[in-house]
């Protein structure tokens, strides 16, 4: 599909941003969906140093493989004080209702990303997300082959963040990226940043916890 941004939506796409220190973002093409031959469909957002993470997940009973995998790792991290580096995301295939193989694919995607970090060990460092059509298996070989390239594309500029925000889109008509700065009362001279990206256009009535 043509992903040109409709004129009415262009005002929602930022042309610059202030991004948090020590985080990198990037995207790459894996060709998850056969009909997509030109748009990046893998995104990676990482912290340069391991850091604490949290997540909320759908309460739908049929939770997709990446939801189950990330959820179990986060649950384990709470009891063991584990830290994470970031999250790898593919668009084009939700890896949902794909059974045990789907779970293995989600783990493989995260493990391959972990291998890109110098501090790789046995504990998972990367959470995983997928979005797209339900009931199809991930083309995992194409994804794992693209992950080293995805890692080499990481950077901290606005364009890196925007590219990542675009890569997680499915039927979205525009990438959704926000960033801002703030201060805290205890250190009013210190400026902090917060940045976030989101995607979604249909099948949207979240009930996460």
């Amino acid at each position: 599909a043509d992903r040109s941004i409709p004129a009415a939506k262009q005002k929602y796409v930022p042309s610059s941003g202030t991004y948090p220190k020590g985080f990198l973002a990037g995207s790459a093409f894996a060709g998850v969906k056969a009909s997509n031959t030109k748009y990046d469909d893998l995104a990676l957002v990482v912290s340069e140093e391991p850091c604490p993470a949290a997540a909320i997940f759908t309460k739908n009973i049929f939770q997709a493989a990446p939801v189950k995998v990330s959820k179990s790792w986060l649950a384990k991290s709470r009891s063991e004080g584990q830290t994470f580096r970031g999250v790898v995301v593919n668009s084009g295939c939700a890896n949902a209702v794909t059974g045990k193989v789907g779970q293995e694919h989600a783990e493989a995607m995260a493990r391959k990303t972990d291998e890109c970090f110098s501090d790789a060990d046995e504990t998972p460092k990367t959470l995983v997300m997928s979005t797209g059509v339900i009931g199809q298996r991930l083309p995992i070989d194409r994804i794992t082959e693209a992950i080293p390239h995805l890692h080499s594309n990481l950077g901290s500029t606005h364009d890196h963040w925007l590219d990542a925000a675009k890569a997680i889109c499915t039927t979205d008509t525009f990438p959704k990226l926000l960033s801002r700065t703030f201060t805290l009362p205890s250190h009013p001279d210190t400026t902090y940043s917060i940045a976030g990206m989101t995607k979604g256009a249909g099948m949207i009535h979240p009930n996460m916890g």
Binding site: Y12, Y19, P20, G22, F23, V45, S47, E48, E49, C51, P52, A53, A54, A55, I56, F57, T58, N60, F62, A64, R78, T83, V87, V89, A94, A96, M129, T131, G135, I168, T170, T171, D172, T173, K176, L178, F182, L184, P185, S186, H187, T190, T191, Y192, S193, A195, G196, M197, T198, K199, G200, A201, G202, M203, I204, H205, P206, N207, M208, G209
Partner: protein
Amino acid sequence: TLLGIICTDAKIDPRSMKKLLDKAARHSFNSISIDGDTSTNDTVAFFANGAAAPPGADPIALATVDERAKVFGPPRLNADTKAFATELSNFMTDLAKLVVRDGEGATKFVTIRVRSDVDYPTAKRAAVSIARSALVKTALYGKDANWGRILCAIGYAPGIMSSPELPAVDFPKVKDSDSLKQVRPDFTSVSFIPADGSEELKLLVRGEPEEVDEVRAKQILEMEDLEILVRLDDFPPPRGDLIRSHEAVMYTCDLSHEYVTINGDYRT
């Protein structure tokens, strides 16, 4: 599917991150609806690396005790935690609103604000039911000030019951679980709040339809942004002044031909 990734260089106590995220999601991502379908993949992840924090800075933590509270009262959130919780909540709300603005085929961004004298769940149930109603959403697409469909959606909302037997003067401050579900049709009002800050357009006041200026209604409905305000607590003054109002807000969009086109073509 909704996905979200949020990163900050503030320093946050790992044990507090999930609670902060949960709390902020309540009024942001968990308060949007495009088509009423909850995905198998919805996930929002939150990372905090502390890279901007000065050396020795205390982490933002929900369990911390304000120094003043040690003297003046029970433990409460410290100022940093409060400030960050507000920042995160506002940030996530703005992100969530972007999703609604991109609703498949959507032409309108609609805020549904429901006030109940009973409790928050009552207000939330009514707001969700309106936001999920295909007929309300098609009316909005058709620029139709159809308050009847809004009332209909409130009336069948799960967990909401009518209590016509209660006299107006004794409408209860609730004590038990049954009365938590009460909505009185004759105390229900519906208005459109224009996005340009002009005067609200009252469609229904305490169960009675207003003479609606159709030209004004059309003007309001032609704007991209619209707020629907529902009062389930619309007591005649001064009685109404004594009742505390609980407010729930949902963000949604209209339902257009384009939604069917996109989803008729998007297959497993």
